[in-house]
């Protein structure tokens, strides 16, 4: 009887512990000179599978890996390959001329030391390992919206005819922002077409702060005829 009550609690603790372990077992670190405030899983894979040697903003990157250990095992889940498959991938590149072998180091301490002194280096260590001399780069969860700082905002003109008719509403736009911060594209998601035309014209003049890569954001522009 006692065990029937304890078992679900025990299972919940184990499950929560496992989830926490996955999230806390590894953290991505980078050389302080690397222009990266966060990184997506896709970018991690692209870099560590040597599909690219630069970030989207053109910064040089050099992947550094651990030879083994819990942090390495946790990291592999982001890459989507087993240790054996990842090493086979690197050897295939090396022996067909498609790339070079990245550095594999023995310990978290060696990885921190190498990343700290090497331009563009990016690696990973245990979640609780000290990271003096390097920057920790959080991994963005899938679907997470990247924050972009709006530097210049132009307010849209309220169409006189619609204001006079007391017609208002909210226009929803999907805005594509370049890595440099300029507006590349504006798509209408919803709202009055006449209000949308005015909103689009204004949003196209907005300027955001430079970011790591191109970003898509949803923007809502309210039109209140009483203001």
């Amino acid at each position: 009887m006692k065990y029937q009550k304890i078992l679900p609690v025990f299972a919940a603790v184990v499950l929560l512990g496992a989830v926490h372990a996955l999230a806390g077992d590894v953290k991505i670190i980078a050389n302080p000179g690397l222009q990266a405030d966060s990184i997506t899983v896709t970018e991690l894979r692209t870099i560590f599978l040597e599909e690219k040697r630069t970030f989207n903003n053109g910064s040089h990157v050099e992947p550094v890996l651990a030879k083994g250990g819990e942090a390495h095992d946790a990291f592999l889940q982001y890459i989507g390959k087993s240790d054996d498959a990842l090493r086979t991938h690197y050897r295939t590149l090396v022996f067909t001329g498609g790339g070079t072998m990245p550095k594999f180091l023995d310990s978290d301490a060696e990885i921190v030391s190498y990343v700290a002194k090497t331009r563009g280096a990016i690696g990973y260590v245990s979640g609780d390992f000290p990271t003096e001399g390097v920057k920790v780069v959080p991994i963005l969860p899938p679907g997470a919206q990247v924050e972009r700082k709006l530097v210049t905002r132009i307010e849209p003109e309220y169409p006189v005819s619609l204001r006079g008719l007391q017609i208002g509403g909210t226009v929803r736009l999907l805005v594509t922002i370049s890595a440099k911060g300029s507006i590349e594209e504006v798509k209408l998601l919803g709202g009055n077409p006449i209000l949308a035309e005015s909103a689009t014209k204004a949003v196209k003049q907005w300027v955001y702060a430079a970011g790591r890569s191109q970003t898509k954001l949803e923007v809502s522009i309210p039109f209140d005829p009483n203001r």
């Binding site: 896709t42 630069t54 090396v94 001329g97 070079t100 072998m101 594999f104």
Partner: protein
């Protein structure tokens, strides 16, 4: 015999360096990497001699090794070269050659170019077929990756364009390669060896080779499908011995030569399953049409491998090879048509089981058993040669293959 021991010595030498990763040094502030590999094998067959070896007595004439040097000049520019040498029975015969040597400039992730001697992308494993340490099996399915015909597909002197494109809406990504160049076969390849049976000695064999590959990493993680196509325009020159005429010049030219290959691979955790289908058509005119032959070679396999522990992987595959061949011209009677693929002379069906043991990260050993039905004796090479089987062929062959390889 001395050269067979040389292979074992090379393996032991490299094995002595197994604690090292890549050898690297700085040159003009760039990191230059050096890598190498070596393998030594042994084959025993119960009946027919296989792959030009006297395998029915046990043969260690199964050695290869290579070394490469490469440097990343900057984030987009990479150069390197690899030398390769092998001995496989009466093929290869210790003639080292440039395996690849090219400059690679990657403008964007979706567009790059390579120029020089480049490994050819054809199916899943064409460009890595020599690299034993990358594979579960000692011999890749011979229906698709014949070890005796390595020269015909391994590389081209020319250029490639290539790239990877991520698809929107979580549709995965595609990788593409398109290439064109010149193929040159050595005289130590299966085709040249086969023609000796007919009194023909190749001096030169090769020509234009162009094609492409497209593969899709599907949204289902670990599942990849793709297709390759290769076209060729080949010529051969040499001499032939004709009774009554003596040694006369020999020429041959392809009228059509192409290969289609379709493949799929699924990897999940420790399991890998792959399958490929290849069809090769070779239509040639010999001595300006005195004899014409059209060979239609179709091969496919299904393979699976599972890594039980860090050190042990087991695998198995079924390989299906069938050939039809028809002749034309005034001397067509010399090469009777072969169209019945149920005959052992026109097929090789091979069931294989393999155990791979990784002694450490750089050294592995494999034990493999082959159970072959058929021997595919035709005017197109396929692993069984008259020169080492003068008494004729038995319908079935069992083979034990042992191999060890190292890389650094």
């Amino acid at each position: 015999m001395q050269r067979r021991f040389l292979g074992l010595v090379l393996v032991c030498f490299f094995a002595g360096h197994v604690t090292m990763q890549a050898q690297e040094f700085k040159l003009f502030d760039r990191t230059v990497q050096i890598h190498g590999f070596a393998s030594q094998g042994f084959i025993y067959t119960d009946q027919n001699n296989w792959l030009t070896m006297h395998s029915s007595q046990g043969s260690g004439a199964f050695t290869d090794f290579g070394a490469n040097v490469s440097v990343q000049i900057n984030d987009k520019f990479h150069v390197g070269a690899q030398v390769y040498d092998r001995n496989l029975g009466n093929l290869g015969e210790w003639h080292p050659a440039i395996d690849w040597a090219f400059a690679d400039y990657r403008f964007k992730s979706w567009f790059g170019i390579r120029g020089g001697k480049v490994k050819t992308v054809l199916g899943l494993y064409n460009d890595t077929q020599d690299l034993d340490f990358l594979h579960t099996f000692t011999l890749l399915p011979q229906s698709v990756y014949p070890a005796d015909l390595r020269d015909s597909t391994i590389g081209h002197l020319g250029g490639d364009v290539y790239g990877q494109i991520s698809l929107k809406r979580h549709l995965g990504g595609v990788s593409y390669t398109a290439y064109a160049g010149h193929r040159h076969d050595t005289n130590y390849t299966g085709y040249a060896h086969l023609l000796v049976k007919y009194g023909i000695t190749h001096a030169n064999y090769g020509g234009l080779q162009y094609g492409g590959d497209l593969r899709w990493n599907t949204p289902l993680r670990g599942f990849l499908i793709g297709a390759s196509r290769m076209n060729e325009d080949l010529t051969a020159t040499g001499t032939s011995f004709t009774p009554g005429l003596g040694i006369v010049p020999f020429t041959a030219a392809s009228r059509a030569s192409w290969t289609d290959q379709f493949y799929g691979e699924y990897t999940v955790r420790k399991l890998r399953i792959d399958a490929e289908y290849r069809r090769h058509i070779y239509d040639q005119a010999i001595d300006k049409g005195v004899l014409c032959t059209i060979s239609d070679v179709r091969g496919w396999y299904v393979a699976g491998a599972y890594r039980f522990t860090r050190r042990l992987e087991l695998g198995s595959y079924y390989s299906h090879y069938a050939i039809t061949s028809v002749g034309g011209g005034p001397f067509a009677a010399l090469f009777p048509d072969q169209t019945d693929t149920s005959l052992p002379a026109n097929h090789i069906y091979d069931k294989v089981v393999t155990a791979r043991v990784d002694l450490n990260r750089f050294w592995n050993a494999k034990v493999e058993g082959h159970f072959m039905d058929g021997y595919g004796d035709s005017s197109y090479p396929n692993g069984f040669y008259f020169q080492v089987n003068p008494q004729g062929f038995k319908p079935n062959t069992k083979a034990l293959v042992l191999k060890t390889s190292v890389n650094f």
